[in-house]
């Protein structure tokens, strides 16, 4: 697979480490309690279709990316820097 790195252009997926569901960006507030953390730690969506997921450019510039990928076709619909996504959400 080739991942369109927002800073570096198309990069081979072999340079990346995969983490999974980008919901991991949304760490609960410490006051949210155990149940919220339990959801955060253990529950992931695994859709057959469009999925937003985290990839780490470990053999590259160390950027964490949020990649939007269709898990059925492996089509990649976009890639953003995680810190930009997080900044936008904040």
């Amino acid at each position: 697979m080739l991942i369109p790195h927002p800073l570096l252009g198309l990069r081979d997926a072999a340079e990346f480490t995969y983490l999974g569901d980008a919901a991991l960006l949304n760490r609960p507030d410490p006051g949210a309690g155990e149940a919220a953390f339990c959801d955060y730690v253990y529950l992931r969506d695994n859709p057959a279709g469009v999925h937003r997921e985290l990839w780490y450019h470990e053999q590259g510039d160390r950027s964490w990316l949020v990649v939007t990928r269709n898990t059925l076709t492996h089509e990649i619909l976009g890639a953003e820097l995680a810190r930009d996504v997080k900044g936008g959400a904040a």
Binding site: M1, G33, E58, R62, R83, G87
Partner: protein, 979 residues
């Protein structure tokens, strides 16, 4: 010898080879199959299941029958198709799958028992009794089945892998592929042209058609000469593109030296990972055979293969009798004309069409079908049935032409489904295949030479247009342009066994049985009958089988469906997939900065992660590793020792919010650490379990250096970057891994201060100025910048000193030289481990991903005053209620070894999961105490000091009585550290 005139073989050179030990000769340009045919050898192997005598069927990579073993010794390679094995001088080949002699295979008894071996036989028969499978059925079946034998030893040849990039990858170098490559090459695009054959030209090499009135090779050579002059074109002959992967990535194997006796200094094969913006699949087509009773005898070939052997390789099977042709298509008549032109007598052309017309001077049997064959080890004759009866025709070979199946394989790799084209009577590539892959020529049913040429050029232009590259219209040669004219004939009905899949011995009857047993969906049919599941993946069988099933169900072929093709197109050796990443080259090896020193000392090495670390430093006279390790440990406890600890991960953390960032990463507080001091830190996973520990040194207000364990260096850094970018991007903090930048040496032992005083540049090392857990930046050895940390893993007064990595070895040697009179001793990872077990420090065996901070005795390190990763989850019921604790264990009898991994039980309790009290994590002999010691987790361990428990190792049936003690076997008050 059956050599005809002409052909593309070099008669000026003679190559000698052996087949089943018999010496034969051939010429450069021959394949093993063509050379065997030219030597009159038709019997090339035995079939997989019934051990039927088999000869070559095809002239290409689709070959189901002529599977042979090539070479010998550790280069022995089974299941190689004789049709694609290039002949070289000295080639050794053997037939496969028989017991005794190929011509008198004892296992041919299976053929007599064939009524019992119908489809699904194994599934039905060997189910019961269950226990018989492993001991009786499977070994017997494995002995009888299977094809060639692999070499027993390691492959002596080198393999490689590489990366290529192109605008346009052209797969297949026949008429369409050459036209595509030439078009793209002239457009200036970056082109790769790959073909599985040793020679470009595809079917042009096998046919007698003229291009611009001249033999096709003239045009081919002209095109190749032009392509060779283009720096933007790369030609890859002997290269099979075997799979399409995501986003325009193609897997290809180049057989660099398979056509040579040995690769010499070069590689045998190369695995290419080709990234192409667009690709043209010009893979041509595979001819269909027509199943009839006993259609598998040696001498029965595909008609196109007969033409290929005659035109390209100047040979024909069957020496003493004429050749017959069975066809439902005009194609068969061309075979007759080509053979006659080469002087091969044609007995008859049997055409299933009633209105067939002879195209030359040969006997035509219109409206006839071949209904049987004779000849035990080679064809002697056929039975031909027409409306007026059955006639026997003597012949030594039969060419069967049932039409062509486009090679759609790669176009269906991404769940692209081929679609049935009724006009062509064939499956053609459907929509939804791999993105960026366009199909041209016979691979999409445009099979005449003129059509293929024009289509190749046009599809290349389309592909390049998608890349905004304008390609010229190239001049194409005048070529044959006959429209396909024929019908479909899927099998000849009759009583005998009519083979559909030669390699897996699947007959029309097997398909009928699968139908009867309701295994009708294509995927069920495959698995029930094993059709298409042999090494050839049913290239000559799948479509015919579908058609037979369609006929049985009364559905159309389109309704019956098709199977999905998966990579690889043809077999790929595991060796080339490894691509040379074997043995010591399996993965990168990282050498420590003091590697040269350690080697000079004759150290034993151990792999830790990717690092090669010194394990211990044997001295002359030491014959057992324990002697060396005990000596090293004692030297540290008594004098001073040196250990390269560079491999521990180091992360430089800087920024105004560095302290706050580390507060959130570590379970304990780091923001309050004073500048110039170090603190032990524990990291949890977000699920609350401990996962790594290390030290955190504050060099300046906004500058920390943290360390990780060697094993987790990469993971911790990744998680720190996750925290920085994904959780708290608002914090002003920057990270960099400095593991490789700084060489770090532990200087441990009571004389460590005395040694360091000799190399620091006027730095006050006194306890008052530089106490336990202090850190500083300083210079040593007259100006070399260094970092000094007063930290201890051994429990002794100790320091770790870091210098730029390139000075690491020199520093080690300087310390050895300066400390000679202090008894300075280098120590390795074994002594390091003993020292830390004696001190009760946790390492990988304790930080196993299932331990809580409390288990480690570090429960209070999880700060209640702040949030940090894992803090919330560490307080949940299951974790907070964990009562196992780290304890020390000593043998009650003072000498018995404590087995690592042993589980702990209360005396008298049963040994099971319910009564399990914990386990032994780390164990060693303590030279300091003079007896074995261990660390372990024990239920309520902190309240059970002095109790005797059982360390049980049920795997070996051993039990040791052990006494529970403090995990700090040495200096529990920490006086040595602070000395």
């Amino acid at each position: 010898m059956t050599r005809l005139s002409g052909g593309l073989i070099d008669r000026s050179k003679v190559l000698s080879f052996t087949f089943d030990g018999v010496r034969y000769s051939g010429h450069p340009g021959d394949t093993l199959a063509s050379a065997l045919l030219a030597n009159g050898v038709q019997l090339m192997g035995r079939s997989f299941k019934y051990h039927r005598p088999r000869g070559v069927v095809s002239s290409g990579s689709e070959e189901p029958n002529a599977l042979v073993e090539l070479r010998s010794g550790n280069r022995q390679e089974p299941n190689t198709r004789a049709t694609v094995a290039e002949l070289f001088d000295g080639l050794e080949a053997r037939s496969q799958n028989y017991l005794g002699r190929l011509d008198r295979d004892l296992l041919a008894v299976n053929d007599l028992l064939s009524p019992f071996f119908a489809a699904g036989f194994y599934y039905k028969t060997f189910m019961w009794p269950k226990a018989f499978w492993e001991k009786l059925y499977e070994p017997a079946i494995r002995r009888a089945a299977g094809l060639g034998r692999v070499a027993e030893g390691a492959d002596p040849d080198a393999y490689d892998k590489g990366f290529l990039h192109a605008d346009l990858l052209v797969i297949g170098g026949g008429a369409a592929g050459l036209a595509a490559a030439l078009t793209a090459g002239r457009a200036g695009a970056k082109v790769i042209l790959a073909d599985e054959d040793s020679r470009f030209g595809g079917r042009l090499l096998a046919e007698s058609h003229l291009l611009d009135g001249a033999p096709a090779t003239q045009w081919i050579e002209g095109v190749l000469a032009e392509l060779c002059t283009m720096p933007n074109v790369r030609l890859l002959p002997r290269t099979t593109v075997f799979g399409v992967y995501d986003h325009g990535i193609y897997g290809a194997v180049e057989r660099v030296a398979d056509h040579l006796p040995t690769p010499g200094a070069g590689v045998r094969q190369t695995l290419w990972r080709i990234t192409a913006k667009r690709a043209v699949l010009a893979a041509g087509a595979t001819e269909r055979h027509i199943p009839f009773a006993d259609n598998d005898r040696p001498g029965i070939l595909l008609g196109g293969a007969l033409r290929a052997y005659a035109n390209r390789w100047a040979t024909a099977p069957g020496t003493d009798r004429p050749v017959a042709i069975f066809t439902c298509h005009d194609e068969g008549h061309r075979t007759a004309l080509d053979l006659q032109a080469r002087g091969v007598p044609v007995a008859a052309v049997i055409d299933s069409r009633n209105d067939a017309v002879a195209q030359g001077d040969y006997r035509l049997i219109a409206g006839g079908q071949v209904s049987g064959s004779q000849g035990r080890l080679g064809l002697r004759g056929i039975s031909v049935t027409t409306a007026s009866g059955t006639e026997a025709i003597a012949c030594g070979a039969l060419g069967v032409s049932g039409g062509w199946n486009p090679n759609v394989h790669l176009s269906s790799h991404h769940r692209g489904r081929p679609v049935w084209d009724d006009t062509l009577g064939a499956f053609v590539p459907g929509p939804g295949g791999p993105g960026g892959l366009l199909v041209a020529g016979a691979a999409r049913g445009k099979g005449s030479t003129a059509l293929a040429l024009a289509d190749g050029a046009e599809i290349a232009r389309q592909a390049l247009a998608e890349l905004s590259i304008t390609a010229p219209v190239i001049a194409l040669p005048q070529a044959e342009d006959t429209a396909p004219n024929g019908t479909t004939l899927w099998h000849v009905p009759g009583k005998g066994r009519a083979w559909v899949d030669f390699q897996n011995d699947v007959t029309v009857k097997d398909i009928a049985l699968a139908h009867k047993e309701n295994m009708r969906p294509v995927e069920h049919l495959k698995r029930w009958t094993t059709l298409g599941m042999a090494t050839d993946q049913g290239k000559t069988a799948n479509v015919t089988a579908l058609a037979v099933m369609a006929e049985l169900t009364g559905k159309t072929i389109a309704e019956t469906g098709t199977t999905i093709f998966r990579p690889p197109y043809t077999g790929v050796s595991l060796a080339v997939l490894g691509g040379g990443d074997t043995g010591p080259d399996f993965r990168p090896r990282r050498l420590t900065p003091t590697d040269v020193f350690a080697k000079s000392q004759g150290a034993a090495f151990v792999e830790v992660g990717q690092w090669m670390r010194a394990q211990y430093f044997p001295k002359p006279g030491e014959t057992h590793w324990r002697q060396s390790v005990d000596r090293e440990v004692i030297a540290v406890r008594r004098d001073v020792g040196l250990c390269d600890v560079t491999t521990l991960g180091k992360v430089d953390v800087q920024g105004a919010d560095a302290g706050e960032f580390l507060n959130r990463l570590y379970s304990n507080m780091m923001g309050t650490l004073k500048v110039g001091m170090v603190r032990y830190g524990l990291m949890l996973r977000e699920d609350g379990f401990a996962y790594d520990d290390g030290t955190c040194a504050r060099l300046a207000a906004h500058h920390y250096v943290v360390t990780t364990t060697t094993a987790n260096a990469g993971l911790v850094f990744r998680n720190m970057e996750f925290a920085r970018q994904c959780l708290w991007p608002e914090l002003d903090v920057q990270l960099i891994s400095t593991t490789d930048a700084w060489a770090q040496i532990a200087v441990a032992g009571p004389k460590s201060r005395a040694l360091l005083e000799r190399i620091v540049d006027g730095f006050d090392l006194s306890n008052a100025a530089f106490p336990f857990m202090a850190c500083a930046e300083l210079t040593i050895c007259g100006g070399l910048r260094a970092r000094l940390f007063r930290i201890s893993f051994s429990g002794e007064m100790a320091y770790e000193i870091a210098v730029p990595a390139r000075y690491g070895n020199a520093l080690m040697e300087r310390l050895m030289q300066q400390g000679a009179d202090l008894g300075v001793t280098p120590y390795g990872t074994e002594a390091l481990a003993v020292l830390r077990i004696e001190k009760g420090h946790a390492a990988g065996a304790e930080l196993n991903g299932q331990a809580t901070a409390a288990m480690l005795g570090l429960g209070r390190m999880v700060s209640q005053k702040k949030d940090s990763i894992g803090a919330i989850m560490s307080r949940r019921e299951g974790l907070a209620g964990e009562t196992r604790r780290l304890v020390g264990l000593i043998p009650e009898d003072g000498q018995g070894a404590i087995p690592g991994g042993a589980h702990l039980f209360t005396e008298g309790a049963a040994r099971n999961m319910e009564t399990d009290q914990g386990w032994v994590t780390s164990t060693c002999h303590s030279p300091h105490l003079g007896h074995p010691i261990a660390l372990g987790y024990l239920e309520g361990g902190d309240t059970r000091l002095d109790e005797v428990v059982i360390a049980a190792n049920p795997l070996e049936g051993t039990e040791t009585r052990v006494r529970v003690v403090s995990p700090h076997f040495i200096d529990p008050e920490g006086e040595r550290l602070r000395g």
